[in-house]
C-alpha cells in the first residue's frame, strides 16, 4: 500500500551509465565488460600456458636440446638453454594450473557466462554488480600472484596442479619451488576460489531471481542452463578447494601437520611434523578436482548445443533429455572423484564402490552425444566457423570420452594410472573439447560482442589446422599410455620407454604446429575487431534474447525496459507469417510447425 503513496521512482537500474573511461572499461559494473575482461584474461593465460607446453614438448622430444634464449629467462632452470628436470616439472605445474583454472574455468564459464547469462534471461545485469566486478578483480589478482611464482628465487612449485601432499606440504626440502613457490601457488588458488564463489553466487541468483517476464525455467536457453549447472558445481567445488588450500598454507607457514605424517626423512633429516594424513589432501582435492572437469566441459556442451541448434535450423531432438543428462553429469561428478585414487592406497573395496558411478557417467554422456548426432539427422546444417568447431567438439568429446571406459575400471587403472593414457583422456575431453567450445562460442558471439563479423576464411582455416593438429597431438598419447609410458617424466631414461621417443618427437612437432596455428585465431580476433564488416543485430538468425538487441548491446542491455518472452529458444524449423523459419523468444506470434510436415 505504501508503494502507492511513494513518489514516482526512476526505473530499476543496477548502476547508472558508465561516465568515465575507468568506470566504462576498467572497474566496470557492467556484466558485459566484465565478461570481456574475463575473456581477455583467458587469452593471456592460454597464450602463456601454450608457450610453457611448447617448452615441455621440446624437452620431451629432444631432452638435451639447448633452447636459444631460455637461459636468459631462467639461468637456473635452463643452464645453457637445456631444461633441467625440476624446471620441466615447474613448467608442467604452471601449464596445468594456468590452463585448468585460468582458461578452462574462466573462458567458457566466467567470460561467456558473464556476458550472455543476464542477457539470455532478459535481465539488465546481475543482482550484485559489485560482487561481479570483485569476482573478476579477485581472479586477476590470483593470476598475478600465480605468475609471480616465476620470479621467486626457487621458481614455481614442481608438485603438479594436483599438488599431492606431503610433497607439496613439507616446504623447500622437497625440492626447488616447494618453499615459497608452493605457498604462492596455494595462495593464488585460494584467491581464485573466492573469485569464482562470488561469480557463482551471482550466476545462480541471476537465473533464480532476474528472469524477465515470461522467461519460465522451461524457456531458458540451454546455455543459460549450462551456466546455471556449472555455477552450482562451482559453488560446492571451490568451497571445498579453498579449505584445502588454507590447510596447505598453514602446513607451510605455521608449522601445523594436517597433511604431513610422522617419520619423514629428507636429506637425512627427520622432519619436525607428525600425525598428518597424506590421503586427506587427495580426498579434498579430488572432491573439487573431478567436478572441476565438468565445470570446464558443461558450459562447452551448452555453447555447442546453442550453436548447433542455430546452425541446424532445428531444435535438439529433446532439450529436456539433454538438460537432465547435464544435471546427471553434474550430480555424478561428486560421487566419482575416488577414481583418481584407485591405486593411491584407499581401501581397495572403496575403489570398486567408486568405479560403478564412474562407469555410470558414460550413460548421460552417451545420451548427450547421441542427441547431438541424432539432431543432425534431417537438419539443414549451415557450415561456418562456429558450427565447424561445434561439430569438432562433438567428435573430440567422443574420442576423449571412450577412454573413460578404461579409466573407470580399477583393474585397468593398474596398467593405465598416471600414464599418458590419462593425459590423452583429459586433454581431449576436458582440454581440447572445451577449447573447441570456446572457439565455437567466440566465432558465434563475436558479432554480438563487438558489432563486427569475424573473417570466415581465416576462421575455417583455423578450424581445419586445429582439428587435424589436435588429433595428431592427443591420439598418440593414448598409445603411449597403453605402452606403459608414465606421465610427468622430465625425460625417458627407462629402457622400455626408449622405443616410444620417436612418437614423442612426432607429438612435439604436431604441438608446435598446432600451437602456431592459433596465431591465425589471435590475428583474426584483432583484425576483425577493428576491420571486420559491420554485424547486424541477428547475423545467425538466432532466437534467444541476445539477438533482439543491437550489436554491440547498449550498457543497459534492453534500453531500460525488460523484454517479455513468449517462447522457448527452440523455435527453429517453423514457418512464420513473414516466411522466416524461426521465431524470436520475445515475438508474440505463433507459427505452424513444419517439421516432418511431409
Amino acid at each position: 500500500m505504501h508503494e502507492t503513496s511513494a513518489a514516482p521512482a526512476p526505473a530499476a537500474q543496477h548502476h547508472g551509465p558508465p561516465t568515465t573511461f575507468i568506470s566504462k572499461h576498467v572497474f566496470s559494473l557492467d556484466h558485459k565488460v566484465i565478461g570481456l575482461q574475463y575473456y581477455g584474461l583467458a587469452l593471456v593465460a592460454v597464450f602463456v600456458g601454450m608457450v610453457l607446453s611448447w617448452l615441455m614438448r621440446i624437452h620431451l622430444g629432444w631432452t638435451n636440446a639447448a633452447i636459444p634464449g631460455l637461459q636468459a629467462i631462467s639461468p637456473n632452470g635452463a643452464p645453457g638453454g637445456v631444461i633441467t628436470p625440476e624446471y620441466y616439472l615447474q613448467l608442467m605445474t604452471m601449464h596445468a594450473t594456468l590452463m585448468v583454472f585460468f582458461v578452462l574455468t574462466t573462458a567458457p564459464f566466467a567470460a561467456f557466462g558473464n556476458y550472455f547469462l543476464p542477457i539470455q534471461v532478459g535481465a539488465e545485469d546481475m543482482p550484485f554488480p559489485h560482487f561481479n566486478m570483485m569476482s573478476f578483480w579477485t581472479t586477476l589478482t590470483a593470476f598475478c600472484v600465480l605468475i609471480s611464482a616465476f620470479f621467486v628465487s626457487d621458481g614455481p612449485p614442481l608438485s603438479g596442479w594436483t599438488a599431492y601432499a606431503p610433497l607439496s606440504a613439507i616446504g623447500k626440502v622437497a625440492g626447488p619451488g616447494e618453499g615459497m613457490g608452493q605457498v604462492i601457488w596455494a595462495t593464488a588458488i585460494g584467491i581464485f576460489c573466492i573469485g569464482q564463489l562470488l561469480g557463482a553466487l551471482n550466476f545462480i541468483s541471476t537465473v533464480l531471481d532476474m528472469r524477465c517476464k515470461g522467461m519460465t525455467l522451461s524457456r531458458l536457453p540451454i546455455t543459460a542452463w549450462a551456466w546455471f549447472i556449472t555455477s552450482c558445481m562451482g559453488l560446492t567445488a571451490f568451497a571445498v578447494l579453498m579449505p584445502a588450500c588454507i590447510l596447505l598454507i598453514l602446513d607451510h607457514v605455521a608449522g601445523t601437520s594436517f597433511f604431513i605424517p610422522s617419520g619423514l626423512v629428507i636429506n637425512d633429516q627427520l622432519l619436525p611434523h607428525s600425525g598428518g594424513s597424506t590421503l586427506l589432501w587427495q580426498h579434498l582435492f579430488w572432491f573439487f578436482g573431478h567436478p572441476e572437469v565438468y565445470i570446464a566441459i558443461v558450459p562447452g556442451m551448452g555453447i555447442v548445443t546453442h550453436v548447433l541448434v542455430t546452425n541446424m535450423r532445428r531444435p535438439m531432438l529433446s532439450t529436456k533429455a539433454l538438460l537432465y543428462s547435464m544435471w546427471a553429469l553434474a550430480f555424478l561428478s561428486y560421487m566419482v572423484y575416488g577414481h583418481h585414487m584407485f591405486v593411491s592406497g584407499m581401501n581397495p573395496f572403496s575403489s570398486l564402490v567408486f568405479s560403478f558411478p564412474t562407469l555410470m557417467i558414460t550413460i548421460p554422456s552417451t545420451i548427450v552425444v547421441l542427441l547431438w548426432i541424432g539432431s543432425l539427422y534431417g537438419s539443414k546444417l549451415r557450415i561456418n566457423s562456429a558450427s565447424l568447431f561445434a561439430l569438432g567438439f562433438v567428435s573430440m568429446f567422443v574420442s576423449g570420452g571412450v577412454s573413460g571406459f578404461f579409466l573407470a575400471q580399477p583393474s585397468l587403472d593398474i596398467m593405465l594410472h598416471a600414464t599418458y593414457f590419462v593425459v590423452g583422456h583429459f586433454h581431449m575431453v576436458m582440454g581440447v573439447a572445451a577449447m573447441f567450445g570456446i572457439f565455437s562460442g567466440t566465432y558465434f558471439w563475436f558479432p554480438k560482442m563487438t558489432g563486427r563479423m569475424m573473417n570466415e576464411t581465416l576462421g575455417k582455416t583455423h578450424f581445419w589446422l586445429t582439428f587435424v593438429g589436435t588429433y595428431c597431438i592427443f591420439m598418440p598419447f593414448h598409445y603411449l599410455g597403453m605402452a606403459g609410458n608414465v606421465r610427468r617424466y622430465a625425460s625417458f631414461t627407462d629402457d622400455y620407454l626408449q622405443r616410444l621417443i620417436p612418437l614423442h618427437q612426432f607429438i612435439t612437432i604436431a604441438a608446435l604446429f598446432t600451437g602456431s596455428v592459433q596465431l591465425i585465431f589471435f590475428y583474426n580476433l584483432i583484425y576483425s575487431r577493428f576491420r571486420g564488416p559491420q554485424a547486424s543485430a541477428n547475423p545467425w538468425e538466432g532466437t534467444s534474447l541476445e539477438w533482439i538487441m543491437p550489436s554491440p548491446p547498449p550498457w543497459n542491455n534492453f534500453g531500460g525496459k525488460d523484454p517479455i518472452v513468449y517462447h522457448d529458444a527452440d523455435q527453429y524449423g517453423v514457418r512464420t507469417s513473414t516466411g522466416a523459419d524461426y521465431i524470436m523468444q520475445n515475438s508474440p506470434e505463433s507459427a505452424v510447425v513444419v517439421r516432418d510436415g511431409d
Binding site: T63, N64, N76, P79, G80, V82, I83, T84, P85, E86, Y87, D154, K172, G175, P176, N267, S491, T493
Partner: protein, 236 residues
C-alpha cells in the same frame, strides 16, 4: 685471554706481512692422522639405478665416509689453522668439483671463503648438486649432461655436506676455510702446512664421521713442528 689472542693475532699479522715481503719462508707443521679401534666396514654402492654409471665399474664402489689406509692412517681429514692465522683473500684460481661415474671427485673439497667453486658434470646423466649449509645460502641446482660448469662462492667458513638428489649415494663435503693454511690427508694420512710465520697457532683436524680435534703449536723462525692426530673409530 681474548686480549692476548688479539695481540698475538696483531703481531702475527705484522710478522706475516713482513715475511710476505721477505718471500716464502717460515715454519712448517707436518704430521699424520690415524685412528684407533675398528672403523665401520665401508658398504658397497649399488648403482644399478643409473646404468650409465654402473657400467663404469667392474667392482662396486665403496662409500667414503671413512677411508683408511696402511698403518691405521685416515684419509679425507681436513687439517687447517683454526686460530692464530689472519683471514686471507681468496686466490684467483677456482676449486673444481667433478661429478664422474656418479661419484664426487674429490670426495672432500677444501677451498677458501669467496674462492670460486667450479662444478663439472662429466657424466651422461643429469646430476643435481644440493649442498646443505647452515650458515651460507642454500641452493639446489640440477646439471644436465653437456651444460656449462656451475660457478658458485661461499662467503662464510663452514663444513658443508653435499648431496645429489637424483643419486642418493652421492655424498661429499665442501670445507670452506678462512685462510690458505690447510691440507687434506690422502693415502697414508700425512699432511703438511708450510709457510707458517712465527706465532702461536691452533691446528684443527676435521673428519666428516669422527668430528674434530685441535692442538696448539708455536712456531718460531723456520722450524718444522710435528703434530699428530688420532681419532677414535666406531664399528657402527
Amino acid at each position: 685471554m681474548q686480549m692476548k689472542h688479539a695481540v698475538i693475532a696483531g703481531l702475527v699479522m705484522l710478522g706475516a706481512s713482513a715475511l710476505a715481503v721477505a718471500g716464502p719462508s717460515g715454519g712448517t707443521v707436518t704430521g699424520k692422522v690415524t685412528y684407533e679401534g675398528t672403523p665401520a666396514k665401508m658398504k658397497p654402492i649399488d648403482m644399478s639405478k643409473e646404468p650409465s654409471c654402473a657400467k663404469m665399474y667392474a667392482t662396486p664402489q665403496l662409500v667414503e665416509t671413512v677411508v683408511t689406509g696402511a698403518g691405521n692412517s685416515l684419509e679425507n681429514v681436513v687439517v687447517y689453522v683454526s686460530a692464530g692465522a689472519p683471514d686471507e683473500a681468496a686466490p684467483s684460481t677456482a676449486a673444481t668439483f667433478t661429478q664422474k661415474g656418479c661419484r664426487y671427485i674429490p670426495h672432500l673439497l677444501a677451498f677458501q671463503v669467496n674462492q670460486e667453486l667450479k662444478i663439472i658434470n662429466d657424466d651422461q646423466t643429469s646430476h643435481n648438486i644440493h649442498p646443505l649449509p647452515k650458515l651460507n645460502r642454500e641452493w639446489n641446482k640440477s646439471q644436465p649432461p653437456g651444460t656449462p660448469p656451475i660457478s658458485e662462492k661461499y662467503d662464510k667458513a663452514e663444513f658443508i655436506p653435499v648431496k645429489c638428489n637424483v643419486h642418493p649415494w652421492m655424498h661429499g663435503t665442501f670445507a670452506v676455510l678462512k685462510n690458505s693454511h690447510f691440507a687434506v690427508t690422502a693415502d697414508g694420512g700425512s699432511f703438511s702446512l708450510a709457510n707458517l710465520p712465527p706465532g702461536k697457532y691452533t691446528i684443527t683436524a676435521w673428519h666428516e664421521s669422527y668430528g674434530d680435534q685441535s692442538q696448539d703449536v708455536t712456531i718460531s723462525g723456520t722450524e718444522s713442528k710435528t703434530v699428530n692426530f688420532v681419532f677414535k673409530a666406531k664399528p657402527y
